[in-house]
Amino acid sequence: MRADGALIALDRLGRLLLPGVVLLFFVILTLAPLRLPYLSDILPLLPVLAVFQFSLATPERLPGPFLLAMGVLLDLLLGGPGAPVGVSALGFVLVRAAVVGSRRHLVGVPFLFQWVGFCILSWAFVALVWAFTSLWTWTVIDPVPAMMQYAVMIVAYPLLAPLLARVRARDPLNVPELSRGTARPGETTT
């Protein structure tokens, strides 16, 4: 091993952990008291953006159990009394599965397609959380604030997605065929 072997290993480790760390940061950031108009609106949906964006390129770096844990943590931190704990986890897992399942429509396509994909999936996420929260608390919750957050988020997507894409470790098109999909490193034994 050469002298820069350790650096390469460190680099690899950093890339491996990055999506998870960014997601954790966003989950905690949802509570941050940023009192700026619009900016505080998108905070609750930033984790969804991270899940979507990282699932495009490197879904194996956001393993399902980790998403589950992050979703539960988000619900514990955000949730009020009676709110379902685990609905965000369900949303994260489903968003990741949907992205992985429709990679050919989302990866290596014009940006507009990704945007539309994000619009659809994050709408589904918002609707899911709204439906379960309403069901669990057995009250019809006003959907307008949730829809406002959603609207601000999809408008902000073109600004935020390139940032995350820069953070993203490697070009999705360079992913070896076999490690596409949900395979984790080490699972592909060819």
Partner: protein
């Protein structure tokens, strides 16, 4: 070669099946978590408190620079209108001085009448000052995270006030953190009264910027601009903390109340330790800060 290909195809199929299976397991796990949360609320409460205690230091680290930045921006904004602001404050000051005289006179009179009637005052409230380190302002919850907890004597059910009025009540308490639920939260139902008519009512939040006044005896007499104060029913809140004012009167159930507290600028709040917190047994108030209650905290 062909055997190898067959093997690869089979392996791929197995992997696909496993992946689907993993998704099903994950979805079931998420549902399981939700059902457990519904069935065992104590467990979830404890998990919430643990998560809050863990996240609170990180949030505090984020909150301070953010608060400084926010204050700087606010300062800069105020700078532009300093002259008008000064004039307005001078005018307000002279008006308030007149009110102060009236208040002193009334307080004296009140004290004398109480003595005459041998009125027994409620427990004296003391305060725990707390910094807001986190917002839980999603589309579904209106609340905030405070940096004080059980160690400072905070217990669930205590009132949280600002200089303007009531902000909410303590919902969950960790060792060094606590969650406030604002009065605008959908689960907040507060016993209040209309200050002018002394009419009892329930003030319900619905996660919007305003609250709904549900009157017990009917809506006659509620006018726009009426102040809404806590009624003290239930025993855990002091009587007479201002909550908000009526912005829109009308038919039953459609009386809207605007809270006095500006939730978007909350930085420090005070937790009111009123001595009696419902059924919860409170220990001796340990390091409550000031004993001087502002006029708003006094009974009538």
């Amino acid at each position: 070669m062909a055997i190898r290909d067959d093997f690869e195809i089979a392996a791929l199929q197995v992997r696909t099946v496993l992946q689907r299976f993993a998704l099903v397991v994950l979805v079931l796990a998420a549902f399981g978590a939700m059902l457990i949360g519904k069935a065992d609320t104590v467990l979830v409460e404890n998990a919430r408190v643990l998560a809050m205690d863990l996240a609170s230091p990180a949030l505090e680290a984020i909150a301070r620079p953010v608060a400084i930045a926010n204050r700087t921006i606010a300062d800069l904004k105020e700078f532009a209108s300093l002259r008008e602001e000064n004039a307005r404050l001078r005018e307000e000051n002279s008006r308030l001085l007149a009110w102060q005289t009236a208040a002193r006179r009334l307080e004296n009179e009140n004290d004398r009448l109480r003595e005459l009637a041998q009125f027994k005052d409620g427990p004296e409230a003391s305060f725990i000052t707390a910094r807001v380190v986190g917002d839980s302002l999603s589309a579904y919850v209106r609340g905030a995270l405070l940096d004080v907890g059980r160690a400072a004597g905070v217990t669930p059910g205590q009132a949280v006030v600002t200089g303007e009025g009531l902000a909410g009540r303590i919902a969950e308490v960790g060792q060094n953190s606590a969650r406030v639920l604002f009065v605008t939260d959908v689960s907040s139902h507060l016993p209040v009264m209309v200050e002018r008519t002394r009419e009892k009512a329930i003030l319900a939040g619905d996660n919007s910027g305003q609250m709904r006044l549900m009157l017990v005896q009917g809506v006659q007499g509620v006018q726009r601009g009426d102040r809404i104060i806590t009624s003290g029913n239930g025993g855990s809140f002091p009587v007479g903390i201002p909550v908000g004012e009526v912005v829109q009167g009308g038919k039953e159930g459609s009386v809207r109340v605007r809270p006095f507290t500006d939730f978007s600028r909350l930085e420090f709040v005070r937790v009111v330790d009123y001595g009696v917190t419902g059924l919860v047994n409170v220990g001796p108030p340990s390091n409550s800060s000031s004993g001087t209650a502002p006029p708003a905290q006094r009974g009538h």
